[in-house]
């Protein structure tokens, strides 16, 4: 069973309110982008952690934090926020556990969003 905070249904509803006749469904568009781009973003974050590349690690986690929050993928965004804090405390070696959680959260968000998009 999916966790309650995997996605923010209120955020999805706000996006749906932007839909207008004649324009593509914005939730579907964002969902497609989220599904297509997130794995590569997670891979970049993982690579930066391995290389101890703090600058790019911070930029990538911040980017995914925002992008996932935009579509209501709350859990993914929250984990990115915690990863971002690791970068601020120069603790990238501790990122492994969170990166695993991030992969799981992405799959859960994908499943949950596919039902509303």
């Amino acid at each position: 069973m999916a966790k309650a905070n995997v996605i923010d249904l209120e955020a999805v509803r706000r996006l749906q309110a932007l839909n207008e006749p004649g324009l593509p469904d914005i939730v579907k568009e964002l969902f497609t982008m989220f599904v297509n781009t997130t794995p590569a973003k997670i891979q970049k974050i993982t690579d930066c952690a391995r290389k101890n590349d703090l600058t790019n690690f911070r930029i990538e986690t911040h980017g995914l934090k925002s992008a996932s929050a935009g579509i209501g993928a709350t859990d993914v965004s929250e984990i990115c926020s915690r990863l971002e804090k690791l970068a601020e405390s120069f603790s990238l070696p501790k990122a492994d556990v969170l990166l695993k959680e991030l992969n799981v959260a992405f799959e859960e968000a994908k499943n949950a969003l596919s039902k509303v998009a």
Binding site: A11, R14, L15, A17, L18, L23, I26, E29, L30, M33, F34, T37, R58, I59, H62, G63, K65, S66, A67, A69, G70, I71, G72
Partner: protein
């Protein structure tokens, strides 16, 4: 229609912002601060929506750059960012931000804030386009000059150059302007225009404004000014007219 510049590296948020704002305004897009600054230099941007965390230099550095430029420092900036810390907000406002919107935002709230800001810009623009002094009314938006006498408004027909000269001087009554300053104000490319050309157009302007309570006066050794007082020579000419 206003020109808005969105500087945002996230394709998802670009999409959300574009959809939120609709198609009432022209929206330029950039993904880095450098790319954004190039667009600012080439266009007349009315409002900037700026993400703080960007690839390369961040949004703060762009704000510093804008603040150090007389030409761009007054462009309103709304920060659109995921940075929640109070220190980030304070920094943004210290650097000249007009508003600070946290991601994820409600699209309707973003639209409302942007429209409120643009509405103020429009109000300022209209005030700047209407200059009223004594009996003289100039409206740059419709390129019209009129004189109000005894409650009646009479339209004065001016050439485009005369109109530009008058508007330039009317913004600061009694301030003398050199011929070079007037040349720069009235001719977009004045490299091949002699400063004495100004005299010819001022002469035409004076003739047409003779019945006004504001008058174009020569200032010895300087150039011209728009003044509320008639010279004795002008009084004589007005009586004769």
């Amino acid at each position: 229609m206003h020109q808005i510049l969105l500087i945002e590296d996230s394709e998802e948020f670009q999409k959300i912002v574009l959809r939120s704002l609709g198609n009432k305004n022209q929206i330029h897009r950039a993904t880095t601060a450098d790319e954004g600054f190039k667009i600012i230099e080439k266009n007349k941007i009315d409002l900037i929506l700026l993400d703080i965390t960007l690839p390369g230099r961040d949004g703060y550095s762009l704000m510093v750059q804008l603040q150090s430029s007389l030409k761009f420092k007054n462009i309103p900036v709304i920060c659109l960012t995921g940075r929640k810390d109070i220190t980030d907000k304070v920094t943004a406002f210290k650097l000249g931000a007009d508003d600070y919107i946290l991601k994820p935002f409600d699209p309707l709230e973003l639209r409302a804030r942007v429209e409120a800001k643009l509405s103020k810009i429009q109000d300022k623009r209209e005030v700047a386009e209407l200059i009223s002094m004594g009996d003289l009314r100039t409206d740059r938006s419709v390129h019209r000059v009129s004189i109000v006498e005894n409650g009646n408004e009479k339209i004065v027909s001016l050439t485009p150059i005369e109109f530009k000269l008058l508007c330039h001087m009317a913004r600061q009554p009694d301030r003398p302007f050199t011929r070079d300053q007037l040349l720069a104000a009235a001719w977009s490319d004045h490299t091949n225009i002699y400063d004495r050309t100004v005299d010819v157009h001022i002469c035409g302007l004076r003739r047409k404004l003779l019945s006004l309570s504001y008058y174009v006066k020569a200032v010895a050794g300087v150039g011209y000014k728009l003044s509320p007082e008639l010279s004795s020579d002008q009084k004589t000419r007005k009586q004769a007219a």
